[in-house]
């Protein structure tokens, strides 16, 4: 990689050992992907829940945090993905004091590095959305795919260490989705059916993701002529990234880099379209069926809920009571939680027996340990991303609309 004067100084350790570690790490990654140089970023976003970090990762962060202030503080605004637990609700979820201690140590270390503890995977809805062409170092695959596709920002999936490195250096290697050459469409899907709700949008993302199956594929969807809203694209993108490791999509006439089908493919001929019909969606749901089963836990998360989703959950739960043998968990960002408290949405959900957790996102919250402690197996959700992830933690996941999820939570079985 070509290095500028400041980058050479970081590499030589002239700006301290934290920045020296960071730029060495970035050069190793940049060389692997044949990056020619660095590009400055507007923000970094770090995924670092304590289940992923483990005690050794927390100790590693604490060693960075113990460095002199001028050496350790990030150079660009650096924010965080959801945490491992919410101190206000962890006891109700039977998370342990050991987990809480690890969480507190991690937060203290990040704060010493100058990181803003936003604890959200919907920063594009709640913190500071990027603009067209802005380079970012975002963690959380759902954040990256939304910002790349819907806003025209430029970011790769940046794992926690790499996002932190970007915060410390203020830049990232210029490879992958920072380059024009990777941003044109590579696969074409013709959607012959309009998704009806968020679960449907997630299912569509899952189907396209399975068909792409590569970080380096860029799907283009035609047939969607009415613009989806932000929550619909959020669920679609999160599932597409989860099932397919995809980081960018185009919808001609809707997303900013694809005013036309031709533009979506960067001027190249459009490949033959793979049709997606209502039957494909039905088949997707059938692979996560669970009708009649006792439901142990209903989860609304992955991604965290917007204020409008919170309002919908509250409306559906108003004057109802969740079954005694079923738990219902809603995960949102701290900012949305404040708004939900103010608008009495939290009160409505919790009066029905639900738990509203802030700054977490279920699968990043010791999901296996929660299942064991609470006796949970059958999980019902409207998040296609979550059903894809959570099977590996020992759950039996089912996908349904928000309305069916809540009816099932009240009935205590999948209806």
């Amino acid at each position: 990689m070509r290095l500028g004067e400041e980058e050479r100084a970081m590499l030589a350790g002239e700006l301290g050992s934290a920045r020296q570690w960071a730029i060495k790490h970035q050069i190793a990654v940049g060389d692997f992907f044949d990056a020619p140089e660095f590009v400055r970023v507007g923000q970094a976003h770090i995924m670092a829940d304590t289940e992923s970090l483990g005690p050794s990762g927390v100790a590693w962060l604490e060693a960075l945090a113990a460095l002199p202030s001028a050496e350790r503080r990030v150079l660009v605004p650096t924010i965080t993905d959801p945490r491992g637990l919410d101190f206000a609700s962890y006891k109700r979820l039977k998370q342990t004091e050991t987990m809480a201690d690890l969480e507190a140590r991690t937060i203290a270390a990040f704060e010493a590095l100058g990181v803003l503890m936003t604890n959200t995977c919907i920063n594009y809805q709640t913190i500071l959305p990027p603009v067209l062409g802005e380079h970012m170092a975002f963690g959380d695959t759902g954040v990256v795919i939304y910002c790349n596709s819907v806003m025209g920002a430029r970011s790769n999936f940046e794992g926690g260490p790499s996002a932190l490195a970007a915060g410390l250096t203020g830049r990232t290697p210029r490879y992958g989705y920072h380059l024009d050459e990777h941003r044109g469409g590579s696969k074409h899907f013709a959607v012959g059916w309009r998704p009806r709700d968020l679960a449907d949008w997630g299912a569509l993302g899952g189907i396209v993701g399975r068909a792409c199956n590569s970080y380096w594929e860029v799907p283009v969807l035609s047939g969607l002529e009415t613009p989806p809203n932000s929550d619909e694209l959020k669920h679609f993108g999160a599932a597409l990234a989860s099932f397919g490791s995809v980081a960018l999509f185009h919808i001609p006439g809707i997303t900013p880099e694809a005013p036309t089908l031709k533009a979506a493919f960067a001027g190249r001929p459009s490949p033959a379209a793979v049709p997606i019909a209502a039957e494909d969606i039905a088949q997707f749901y059938a692979s996560y069926a669970g009708n009649g089963d006792k439901v142990d836990v209903v989860v609304f998360a992955a991604p965290q809920l917007s204020l409008l989703e919170m309002a919908q959950v509250a409306r559906l739960l108003k004057d109802r009571r969740i079954h005694a043998d079923t738990s219902l968990i809603v995960a949102t960002s701290p900012e949305i939680k404040f708004a939900a408290d103010r608008l009495r949405l939290t009160q409505t959900i919790e009066q029905a027996g639900g738990i509203v957790a802030a700054g977490v996102c279920f699968y990043q919250s010791y999901a296996r340990e929660m299942a064991e402690a609470n006796g949970w197996q059958r999980l019902l959700t409207n998040s296609a991303k979550l059903v894809n992830i959570i099977g590996g933690y020992g759950y039996r996941p089912s996908l349904a609309s928000m309305e069916r999820c809540i009816d099932s939570a009240v009935a205590g079985r999948v209806v």
Binding site: M47, S162, S242, F243, I389, G392
Partner: protein, 138 residues
């Protein structure tokens, strides 16, 4: 005469070990029970098998960004693959391998490595040279 295959220069030190191959993908969060050291997602083709000390040969990296932290955490606890070989990785696993100093290579000249290698192959991976040698086949 050993079989030598060329790939893109990779990450991490030279290692030797036994291949565990599947035409499937990899995510430390989605697919593994990291305490037991086994593949835990029922739909995974290596479900129930131990990954410890194996050279995993898979198609691509999937899922979330957590794997970047998890590889190092797995290495610190001593229950970790010896190396990972992909047809083509996503960015997360490359970043995680760099952070953990774990051996990782991809982009083989001869195509998909899940077709080039077999479970039980003894492999020597030399990331700096972009070279993988099958030691027990001719």
């Amino acid at each position: 005469m050993s079989i030598v295959l060329k790939c893109h220069p990779g990450i991490g030190p030279t290692v030797t070990g036994t291949a565990l191959v599947a035409p499937d993908n990899f995510s430390a969060r989605y697919d593994l029970d990291r305490l037991k050291g086994t593949f835990s997602r029922p739909a995974h083709r290596l479900y129930g098998q131990s990954y410890h000390d194996k050279i995993l040969v898979l198609v691509t990296a999937k899922g979330g960004v957590a794997s970047a932290w998890m590889l190092r955490e797995m290495k610190e606890r001593g229950i970790v693959p010896k190396a990972i070989v992909f047809d083509r990785t996503n960015t997360i696993l490359a970043q995680g391998a760099a952070f953990a100093e774990l051996t990782l290579v991809d982009r083989f000249e001869a195509g998909d490595p899940t077709r080039l290698f077999q479970s039980g192959d003894e492999l020597m991976i030399e990331p700096a040279l972009g070279r993988v040698t099958i030691l027990n086949r001719t």
